[in-house]
């Protein structure tokens, strides 16, 4: 609580400095029209059992009106941009003046302002332009269609960017734990269960990234690591199969990707059924005709299932691609390759920053005080706030003499 007040005081000084351009008006004062509620077709990327059913629509005025309705505060500030020489798309950066880190606010403002483009078709173009590293497989901003997620992000001191014509709101900065977070956790009554599912998701993340690689490394390099009886089963299932295990693994992972894509493309009424049928047919026929070992099927399917524990779409896709990388390394160097690739990914994640906030915070710059609503979920009557997005010490802290 003390920190909260300190922060408030600290930032209110900066606010005057920041609002010099006069564009930093409270959202309520803007040219906001209360747009009547539009029927939004449900396209839920973040479905929950409990919580609001409202979603952002494609009209920016409506989106901001939802937000002002939820947070009718004069601290809710809007910074308006018109991006695109042709389209003049309206882009609005929303933040809470008393909680957001002014350094990050000005950084995002600069980055949005520097975008040179003819048109902005969707918020993804803004996202790509303001990210720290677009080579990295890990998204450094979060997107959401939920007003409640956006609201909670704003309360944490994060910044939301609305783009006209896009229902996806960009939330930045983002850490790994934000990407692994679902609204379900916040709406779950019992914190132990919420923490359990959170921990389960981290384990699923690890399984999705590494299980096929571990399997390939152990079976084709170090079969001594398996318990004897398990090994017998694996060997027995592979007695007649023609391909080496790593090729089987690649084939299976490819098939799973193909089925996943098929499910997206085929019209929904029959899509699931056809995908299910074709997948089962392929796998069962493959196993029975000894094209493919049963072990690989189990492992690849398990990793696919686990990848759906990752709530964020971009992160999930990244993990599925990373899995190919780890399997390649394991194919080449066995358990050493596995360890190297795991470490390389870990090092990359630790080095990644989202607008100056370390991607793995509060784990990998260790801040146990912030674990209450990131790594686990604390039991509390109000939403816990932490200092993950607090500004880092500036350069001046280190005197050269």
């Amino acid at each position: 609580m003390l920190d909260f007040f300190r922060k408030k005081k600290h930032i209110s000084i900066d606010k005057t400095a920041m609002s010099g351009e006069g564009n930093n008006k409270p959202c309520m004062e803007g040219e906001i029209t209360q747009v009547p509620l539009i029927d939004v077709t449900s396209r839920d990327l973040q479905q929950t059992l409990r919580g609001t059913k409202a979603r952002f629509s494609e009209n920016i005025d409506y989106n901001i009106s939802i937000l002002t309705h939820r947070l009718p505060s004069r601290e809710l500030l809007c910074q308006r941009f018109h991006i695109g020489t042709l389209s003049q798309t309206r882009v609005v950066m929303v933040y809470l003046g008393d909680t957001a880190n002014p350094g990050i606010v000005s950084e995002i403002k600069d980055r949005i302002g520097a975008i040179k483009t003819k048109t902005v078709m969707d918020s993804i173009y803004i996202e790509r332009n303001i990210e720290d590293s677009h080579i990295s497989p890990f998204p450094q901003v979060e997107t959401s269609q939920r007003p409640d997620v956006t609201e909670s992000a704003l309360l944490q001191g994060r910044i939301a960017v609305f783009v006209d014509g896009s229902p996806d709101v960009i939330l930045a900065p983002t850490t790994f734990f934000d990407l692994m977070d679902t609204p379900d956790d916040a709406y779950m009554r019992w914190p132990v269960a919420a923490s359990f599912y959170r921990a389960a998701r981290y384990i699923m993340f690890l399984i999705a990234a590494s299980l096929p690689a571990l399997y390939v490394a152990l079976t084709s390099y170090n079969p001594e690591m398996f318990p004897t009886k398990l090994l017998w089963l694996i060997v027995a299932s592979r007695e007649e199969t023609p391909f080496p295990i790593y090729i089987e693994a690649f084939i299976m992972m490819g098939i799973i990707e193909a089925i996943r894509m098929m499910m997206i493309r085929i019209p929904t009424q029959v899509g699931a059924t056809i995908a299910l049928l074709s997948g089962i047919t392929l796998v069962i026929a493959g196993i029975f005709s000894n094209f493919i070992g049963a072990g690989v099927v189990v492992i690849a399917t398990l990793s696919m299932i686990s990848s759906f524990g990752i709530p964020n779409f971009d992160l999930r896709i990244s993990i599925r691609i990373i899995q190919f990388f780890t399997v390649s390394m394991a194919t080449l160097f066995g358990i050493f390759g596995f360890a190297v690739s795991a470490f390389a990914i870990g090092a990359h994640m630790a080095s990644l920053k989202s607008f100056g906030i370390p991607f793995m915070a509060p784990l990998a710059p260790l801040e146990p005080s912030g674990w209450g609503h990131t790594v686990f979920r604390q039991s509390s009557e109000t939403m816990p706030l932490d200092e993950t997005y607090k500004p880092l010490p500036a350069k001046g802290d280190f005197d050269e003499g």
Binding site: A339, P365, L366
Partner: protein
């Protein structure tokens, strides 16, 4: 990276994690066997001695470093002992760090090549390992410190697994009687332990300027040292209990042989893969920070500020070359660690802090 270039910062918690996760990996690698040969069933007391020893040295380094805020040991050496001797000491430190990094790399590569991938060429493992180390060095100490948190978590998980597996093997008869061979071998083993920890202790003097709250750096450092010390002393005791002092002394890489003779029920009957994946984090953090210190020391001798790619690549090539030339022959490497390394390491890791402290007190800084 488009983000504003800020000076790297290591929080105090991370500093402690860094210290503890770089402390234990190499000493359990080759140190266990060497110490068992020196002190038999009292080797674990040698480990404790090593920790006490290095705690004192760490406090000296933190005290002296506190007099020169924002400066690494290489930078303040010339101010304290004179320009030419200071630069010479800096060079010595640079070589010492490089040697520590080379040892760390060699020990890991030996683990891989002797136990798990016996037919893969030594050079390939070395090259890939050194590549990862260079990647880390390029990212700098801040990232290494962040990884050390994961490293120490992995170390704790691994130690817990080993603890579970040793529960059914607890046999105090193999540790008793205490002080079986008198104090001299234990002191010797303590020196061996410290010579393994030596480069890691001097790392404190190199990363101290990056620590967030320098006035309170002593506490995390001490906590880190103690945690790392507990980890490897526990490991020594486990080795003694499970294998016995004679088998530990027989083995070249005793830690892996401990893992070879453990199981948690018949379902988790081999630990080697856990060992190389969990222990690996600390190991790489250690190799990374030591290499970083070598690069940084070298650059600071010549007054270069920012880490540039040429020195990283050069150091990487040096590291790989050293490993390939001097560690390919395991007997040579072992004989070096067992014999001359004590005599090389001892003057550096005790000499430099004591020398600096003396100068510090004489000049009343």
């Amino acid at each position: 990276m488009k983000s504003p270039d800020k000076q790297a910062v290591i929080t105090n918690t991370q500093f402690g994690a860094l210290v503890s996760s770089i402390l234990w990996p190499t000493i359990i690698g080759y140190g266990g066997g060497i110490m068992a040969r020196e002190a038999g069933r009292d080797m674990w007391i040698g480990g404790i001695l090593g920790i006490v020893n290095s705690l004192i040295l760490a406090f000296i380094l933190i005290y002296v470093g506190g007099k020169f805020p924002g400066k690494t040991i290489v930078e303040y050496c010339p101010k304290l002992v004179g320009f030419i001797p200071g630069k010479a000491l800096g060079l010595l430190l640079c070589l010492y760090f490089l040697f520590g990094a080379y040892q760390s790399v060699a020990i890991y590569v030996h683990h891989m090549n002797d136990f798990l991938l016996t037919e893969t060429p030594f050079a390939v493992i070395t090259v890939i390992y050194v590549l990862v180390v260079c990647y880390l060095v390029w990212h700098g100490p801040e990232v290494i410190a962040r990884l050390s948190v994961i490293g120490i978590a992995a170390a704790l998980v691994f130690s817990f697994l080993v603890f579970l597996a040793t529960l059914q093997e607890i046999n105090f008869d193999r540790i008793l009687p205490l002080l079986d061979m008198g104090l001299a071998p234990i002191a010797n083993a303590g020196l061996t332990a410290t010579s393994f920890i030596g480069p890691n202790i001097l790392v404190i003097a190199m990363v101290l300027p990056l620590v967030k709250v320098k006035e309170k750096a002593g506490r995390p450092a001490a906590a880190g040292l103690l945690l790392g010390g507990i980890l490897f002393t526990f490991y020594f005791i486990a080795e003694l209990m499970v294998m016995g002092p004679h088998v530990t002394a027989l083995m070249r890489v005793a830690c892996m042989d401990l893992v070879r003779s453990l199981q948690i029920t018949q379902y988790l009957h081999r630990f080697e893969s856990f060992m190389v994946t969990l222990w690996y984090w600390s190991m790489l953090v250690q190799a990374g920070i030591l290499t970083y210190c070598a690069v940084q020391a070298f650059q600071q001798i010549f007054g270069l500020k920012k880490i540039n790619i040429i020195s990283v690549v050069t150091t990487g090539i040096l590291l790989g070359g050293l490993t390939y030339v001097f560690a390919f022959n395991r007997t040579l490497f072992l004989n070096f660690l067992e014999g001359p390394w004590d005599y090389i390491s001892l003057p550096v890791y005790t000499g430099i802090p004591v020398l600096l402290l003396t100068f510090c007190l004489i000049r009343r800084r």
